[in-house]
């Protein structure tokens, strides 16, 4: 009995995910439709949702395999960069975004370090006075 419940539960999650994806795909097509002055039929949006869902399955299995190969259980940006290496334009775009994200991380770290340093120096000043 509980096996069937599990299967049903998994199916419901899958449906919810597809519905969420369907909404996002619809929004994106609306955006592009306005830009290019076209209208997307409902079947196209359904078909694109299916394809994206399938594509995400492939992406997930590849990313998991890469991380496991590197003896990690958490997928990181190196895994994603490896995934897209074949298509040059996509690879460059992903690399650009990844570099931007790492840059903003190091800025955050510098900022919090500076704030910490300032806090410590003000503490020492008040102690002296």
């Amino acid at each position: 009995m509980s096996y069937e419940e599990d299967v049903e539960g998994a199916l419901i999650t899958k449906q919810r995910l597809k519905a969420a994806l369907h909404y996002a795909v619809g929004k994106k097509c609306e955006e592009i439709g306005k830009k290019l002055n076209v209208e997307f039929s409902k079947q196209v949006i359904f078909a694109l949702t299916e394809c994206t869902f399938k594509q995400s399955e492939l992406i997930a299995s590849d990313l998991e395999a890469f991380a496991r190969h590197a003896k990690r259980s958490t997928i990181n940006s190196d895994d994603v960069k490896l995934l897209v290496r074949r298509n040059k334009n996509v690879a460059d775009s992903i690399k650009e975004l990844s570099d931007k994200l790492t840059k903003s991380h190091s800025h955050q770290r510098l900022k919090s370090k500076r704030l910490k340093k300032d806090a410590e120096s003000t503490d020492s000043i008040t102690m002296e006075s």
Partner: protein, 81 residues
């Protein structure tokens, strides 16, 4: 690249990926989530853009139908494999 808004929510992306993990312990870090979301965004935009372009070339109406989508699908999947 700046103007491409991330239409996909990050937790949707995480759950989408986790559905297909064989190991229950596998997780995705925050940066990788953003990258995958961006990647899926590119996929959807490319598909829609190519289909729209084909529809405009082939038909007189400005409606993108499944036949247009089907025609661009093969090359799209090769480009993203």
């Amino acid at each position: 690249m700046e103007h491409e808004k991330l239409t996909l929510r990050l937790d949707t992306v995480e759950r989408l990926l986790q559905q297909n993990f064989t190991d229950s312990k596998s997780k995705v870090n925050a940066d990788a989530q953003k990258l995958v979301s961006y990647l899926l965004n590119i996929f959807i935009s490319e598909a829609a853009g190519r289909a729209a372009q084909l529809a405009q070339l082939e038909s007189t109406s400005n409606k993108v139908e499944v036949e247009h989508f089907e025609k661009i699908l093969a090359q799209l999947l090769l480009d993203f494999s």
